[in-house]
Point group: C3
Chain length 449, copies 3
C-alpha cells in the first residue's frame, strides 16, 4: 500500500514537471514572434505578429482535433505509420494525459511557427492560416508518430527498433526542426524573393530588420524555452530522469554558447564586424544542433556540436541566399533544418553508452555513438539518422512543395506588388504597428491605399 | 513513520508547485505593463508603465499589511464576510504558508492592474496610488473571502455551501476579473474620455496605441502567466491534483485559441481587415472565460466557451464605446468583466460530475452543470453564478464608483488639459520615454511645459 | 527498501527544482539585456546587446572549463581558498550534478553581466570578451569557493565556520552582487566618462536612455528571475526546504516593493517628479538588499531592509556621479554593490533563530541577528559580514582595477572619439539597430564612417 502511495506520488510529480516544461516550451511562441518581428521591416510588423499569434491558436485547434490523435493514438496496439484514436481528445485513458497533450501541442506549434519568418513580408494571411492548420494537424503528427510513438516504425521506443536502436532524437531535431525548416524552404522558394532582395543582376541586397532589440529579446526567450524543450523531453523526472534532465540542460547551454562564439568568430574574420544578428543565429543553431542528443552526450561533445553547428549554419545560409537565391528572411532553413540534420548525425557520433542507458533505458550492449565504438562498428544510430533525414525530407518536401505551389496557383500565397511596397500593415491590417513614429523615406509606407 | 515521511514529501512537493506557479502569475504584471504600454500613445508611455510597476509594489504592501488577513484570516473559525487575523503576516500557522501569500498576492496584483489601462493617458498618479492600495487591501480581499475562504458565505469550500455547491469559480472569474473589470469601468466612466476620443458630434475616433509589438509581447506573456493562474489554482499537485492541473492547462489553451479565432473572424467579416489588436483581445477574453471552469469542463466545451467569449467581448466593447461613450482605453471591462461573467455562467452549464469531483472532491450526487442534467434540474451552479455576479457588481460598483467620484471631486483624478495634450511623460515624469526618436506632428508632445 | 525509494524520490524532486529555478535565474540574462539596452542611446543598442549575449555565452564556456572547478571542486576534502577538481565538468560524482552546474553558471553569468551596463557606450568589444571570461572563470569562482563551498574559509557551511557562523549570505549579496558591482565601478572608473556626460566645468549632464519601456521590461524580467535566484538558493525543496523557499519568495517580494516605494518618495520629494527610472532602480536595490537574508528574516524586516536599501542606493548613486564623477551608466555600483553590502549587514541584524535553523540547519544556540540579541551579544553574523565585505573589496578591486588599467594601456578598452560620437552600432556592428526610424539630430549617428 505504501508502494502504491509512492507510485501515486510519482504520478503527481511527473504531472507537475510536464505542465511546467510545457509552459516553457509554449513561451517559445513569444520568442519566435519577437525574433521574427525584429527581422522584418517596420511596415510589416503587424502582419508577422498576427501570423505568429495565429500559429499558436490555429495550431491548438489543429492539434486538438486530429493532430494529437495522428501522433499518439494507438487503438488496438496502433500501427507503424499513423495514430488512430483520441480525436478531439476523447477516449483518453491509460498513460495519455492532458498535460501530455499540452507539451506535445507546444512542440507542434514550434514546428509550425518556424515557417512564418521565412515567408515574411510578402505572403497572404489566408495561405498562412491553411498552412498552420495543415502542418499541425497532418504533416507534423505523422512524423511524430514514426519517431516518438512506441508504435512508430522509426521509433527508438519501438519494442523492435530499426537496426536495434531506432532514430535517436531525444527532443526533436527531426520532427520539429527539420519539419519546420523544410517547410520553410519550400514556402520561401515557391513564394519568390521580396521585391528588392536581389538587384537586376541577381546580386543579394541587404534588407535589415527594424529592431535588433526584438531579435535579442526573441532569442533569449527561445533559449529559455529550450530548457523546457530539451530537458522537458524526459517527460518525467521520477525514476532518475531528473538527473537526465539536468544533464540535458547543461549540454543545451554549452552548445548554444559554443554556436554563438563560433558564429561571432566566423563573421568577425569574414566581415571584420562583430555581427549581432549572426551571433544570435549562432545561439539558435547551437541549441537546435544539441536537441537530438542533449541527454546523450558529454559536455565537451556539446561544445563541439555547437561549434560545428555554427559552421553548418553559415555554409547553408550563404548557399541558400547566394547560390539558390531563395529569400529565407530569418534563415529558418539554415538554422532549423541545417542544425536539425547535423544534430541527428551528431547523436550518431557522440552518444555514450552510459547516457543512452540513463535516458532511454536501453539494455547493455545496445549500439551507441560511432565515436566510442571500434572502427566499422557502432554505426547504427548514425545510419538510422541518415534514414530519418531522408524520409523526413521526402515526406515534408513531397507534401509542402505541392501545397505551396497549389496555393500559389490559386493566388492565395503571394501579396500583390502594391501591397508589398506599401507594407502589409497598411494594406491589410488597418495601419502601421507604430503610428506615432516617423520613418525614413525608404522605410515609410508608399503608394497605398 | 513511512506514512509521515510521505506526508512531508507531499508538503515539500506542493510548496514547490505553489512557488513556481506564483512566479508564473507574477509574470503577468510584466505582461499587463507591456500590453498597456503598447495601447497608449508614445507620449504617455512612462506614465502607464510607472502605474503598472506601482500596482505590483503598492499591491504587495497592501496585501502584506491587511489584504491577506481580510482574505483568509480565520481566527476562531472565521466569519462569513471578512477575514480577521494574519495582519502583517504575523501569527502564521497551520495550513497558511508564505508561498500561499505569494500566490494570493500575485492574484491581487492582477486584479489591481486591470484598471491601469482603462484610465490611461489622462489620470493623475496620486489617485492611482490610492486606488491600488485600496483595491488590494480592501475591495478585492473581501470578495476573495466570500468566494475562496472556507468560511466564506459564497464559497464552494464552505462545509455547508450555498445551494449545496457554492460559487464554482476555480481560478477567479469573479474575484479577479470581475473585480478588476468593474473597477475599470467605474474609473473610466468617472474620469471621462480622453481629449479627441469623440468628436463634437460624439462620434468615436480611433486613437491607436504606439506599438503593436508591445501589445503582442504583453499578450503572450499573459498567456504564459495564465498557466500559473489557472492550473496553479489547484494550489497543490499531490493527491491527484497534478492531473487536474494538466486538464486545466489544456482547456485554458483551447479557450484562448478559440477566442482568438472567434475575434479574427468577427472582425474580418465586419471590417474586412485581419485585425491584430482584436485577435489579441480574443486570446485574452478566451483565457478569462475559461478561468472559472478550467478544471471542470471537457476540451470541446473549452472551445465553445472561448468562441462565445469572443462574441461577448465584441458586443460589450462596442456597447461601451459607442453607446455608453465610455473611453476604456484597453477594453478592460469587455475583456475582464465580460469574460468573467460569461465564465461564471459557463461553469454552471458545462461542469461535468467527474471533473467536479476530481477538482473539488465533492461527494457523488453533488449538482453539476445544467448541460449534463435533465431539463429543470442541475441549475444550482448556474444560480450561484448569478448570485455571485450580482453581489460582486454591488460590492465593487458600490464602493469604486463613490471612490473615483470622490477622487474626482477633490481634483486628484483627472490631469489638466495642458498635461494631457502635452503627454503625461513630459508633464509629470521628466521627459519622453523615447528621447532619441522623432515623432509625427500629431503624436509629438506640444505646448508643455 | 521503501526508505531508499523515498530517498530516490527526493533526489528526483530536488533535481526538478534545481533545473526550474536555474531557468528562472538564466532568464535574468534577458532582463539585464533589456534593461541595459533601454538605458543607452539608440545608437549604441546593438553594442550593449551583443555584450549581454556574449556574457552568457563566454560565461558558459568559462564556467564549464574552470569556473565550476574553482568554485566547488573538492578533491581530497578540498582547501579553504580554491576548488581543485571537475575541470571541464569531468570526474563528476557524488553530490555534484549537472543541474547544479546549470544553477551555478546562471549565477556566474549574472555576476558578469552586471558590468556591461556600467561601461556602456564607450568600451571596445575585445576588452569586454576578456573581462567576461576572466570574471566567470577566475574572480567570481574564488569568492564562491570562500563563501559557499563547504571547504571555504568564510563559508557558513564549513564544519568549523568563522565565529561559529560564517558569512550568512543565503543567495549571493557577496559573491554575485558585490563582485559584479565592484567590477562595474572599476571598469567605469578606468574607462572614464562618456563624451558629454560632464560639461567643461564638471557639471553632470543627463544622457537619457532610448527606451523606458525596455527598462521596465528588463526590470520585471529580473524581478521574475529573482524568484529563481533567492528561493532557488535552497538548492532543494525536500526536508522542509520548500517552506524555506516560500518564505524567501515572500520576503523578496516585499523588499523589492519597499525599495520601489522608497525611491519613488525620495525622488518625488527631491525633484517633484514621479521618476520611473529611479523607481525601477528602487525595485532592483530592494531585491539585491534582501538577497543575503531572504530566508532568514520576517516579512516586516524585509520591508525595512528594502526601504533602507532605497536610501543606500540613492546616496551612493549621487556620490558616485556627482562627487567621484564616475560615469556608471546604469548605476550598477549603487544598486548591486550598495545593495549587496547593506544586504550582508542586514542579515547580521535581522536573522531570527527560527529561520536560521530552518534555512541552514544550525544547532540551537547558534548566534543569530543582533536585533534579537541582548546588547553586546549576537554580533557574530554582523562581524562576519564586515569581514566578507572587506575581503571581497580587496579581492575584486585588487584584481579588476589592474585588469581594466592594463586593458586601457594596451588600448583595448576605450573606443575612439569618432566611434563614440558616431555610435558603436554604425562604427563596429554594421549599422543601426533600428534602421527604419528617424532619430533626433542629437541622437543620430554623425561623422562616421
Amino acid at each position: 500500500e505504501i508502494e502504491e502511495q509512492n507510485r501515486l506520488q510519482d504520478v503527481d510529480t511527473d504531472a507537475m514537471w510536464l505542465v511546467i516544461v510545457a509552459v516553457f516550451v509554449f513561451l517559445m511562441q513569444c520568442g519566435f514572434a519577437m525574433l521574427c518581428a525584429g527581422l522584418v521591416r517596420a511596415k510589416n510588423t503587424k502582419n508577422i505578429l498576427l501570423k505568429n499569434v495565429l500559429d499558436a491558436c490555429v495550431g491548438a485547434l489543429g492539434f486538438w482535433s486530429v493532430g494529437y490523435a495522428f501522433s499518439y493514438g494507438q487503438a488496438g496496439g496502433g500501427n507503424p505509420f499513423i495514430g488512430n484514436t483520441y480525436f478531439f481528445l476523447t477516449n483518453f485513458e491509460g498513460n495519455d494525459t492532458y498535460q501530455s497533450w499540452l507539451f506535445q501541442f507546444a512542440f507542434a506549434a514550434t514546428a509550425a511557427t518556424i515557417v512564418s519568418g521565412s515567408v515574411a513580408e510578402r505572403t497572404k494571411m489566408a495561405a498562412y492560416l491553411c498552412y498552420s492548420f495543415f502542418l499541425t494537424a497532418w504533416v507534423y503528427p505523422v512524423v511524430v508518430h514514426w519517431v516518438w510513438s512506441s508504435a512508430g516504425w522509426l521509433s527508438a521506443s519501438n519494442v523492435n527498433p530499426l537496426l536495434g536502436v531506432g532514430l535517436v532524437d531525444f527532443a526533436g531535431c527531426g520532427p520539429v526542426h527539420m519539419v519546420g525548416g523544410i517547410s520553410a524552404i519550400c514556402g520561401a522558394y515557391v513564394c519568390g524573393p521580396r521585391i528588392g532582395r536581389y538587384d537586376s543582376d541577381g546580386v543579394l541586397l541587404d534588407i535589415p530588420g527594424h529592431s535588433s532589440t526584438l531579435q535579442v529579446l526573441g532569442t533569449f526567450i527561445l533559449w529559455v524555452g529550450w530548457y523546457g524543450f530539451n530537458p522537458g523531453s524526459t517527460l518525467a523526472v521520477t525514476g532518475g530522469l531528473g538527473a537526465v534532465a539536468g544533464k540535458a540542460a547543461c549540454t543545451t547551454t554549452l552548445s548554444g554558447a559554443a554556436g554563438a562564439v563560433g558564429c561571432l568568430i566566423i563573421f568577425k574574420v569574414s566581415s571584420h564586424a562583430f555581427d549581432l544578428g549572426q551571433t544570435l543565429n549562432g545561439v539558435l543553431v547551437g541549441l537546435v544542433s544539441i536537441t537530438a542528443s542533449c541527454a546523450l552526450v558529454e559536455p565537451w561533445a556539446a561544445v563541439i556540436i555547437g561549434l560545428i553547428g555554427s559552421v553548418v549554419y553559415t555554409a547553408l545560409s550563404e548557399f541558400v541566399k547566394r547560390k539558390l537565391r531563395i529569400d529565407d528572411v530569418v534563415d529558418a532553413f539554415a538554422v532549423h533544418c541545417g542544425g536539425g540534420m547535423w544534430g541527428l548525425l551528431a547523436a550518431g557520433l557522440f552518444t555514450t553508452a552510459e547516457n543512452h542507458q540513463a535516458a532511454y533505458g536501453v539494455a547493455p550492449g545496445t549500439p551507441h555513438g560511432a565515436f566510442y565504438a571500434p572502427i566499422g562498428q557502432g554505426h547504427q544510430i548514425f545510419t538510422c539518422a541518415i534514414v530519418g533525414i531522408v524520409v523526413i525530407w521526402l515526406w515534408v518536401g513531397g507534401i509542402m512543395l505541392p501545397f505551396f505551389t497549389l496555393m500559389h496557383h490559386i493566388n492565395w500565397l503571394r501579396s500583390t506588388e502594391e501591397e508589398e511596397l506599401a507594407g502589409m500593415d497598411v494594406s491589410k491590417h488597418g495601419g502601421s504597428a507604430y503610428p506615432d513614429y516617423v520613418f525614413t523615406p525608404s522605410a515609410a509606407p508608399v503608394g497605398f491605399p
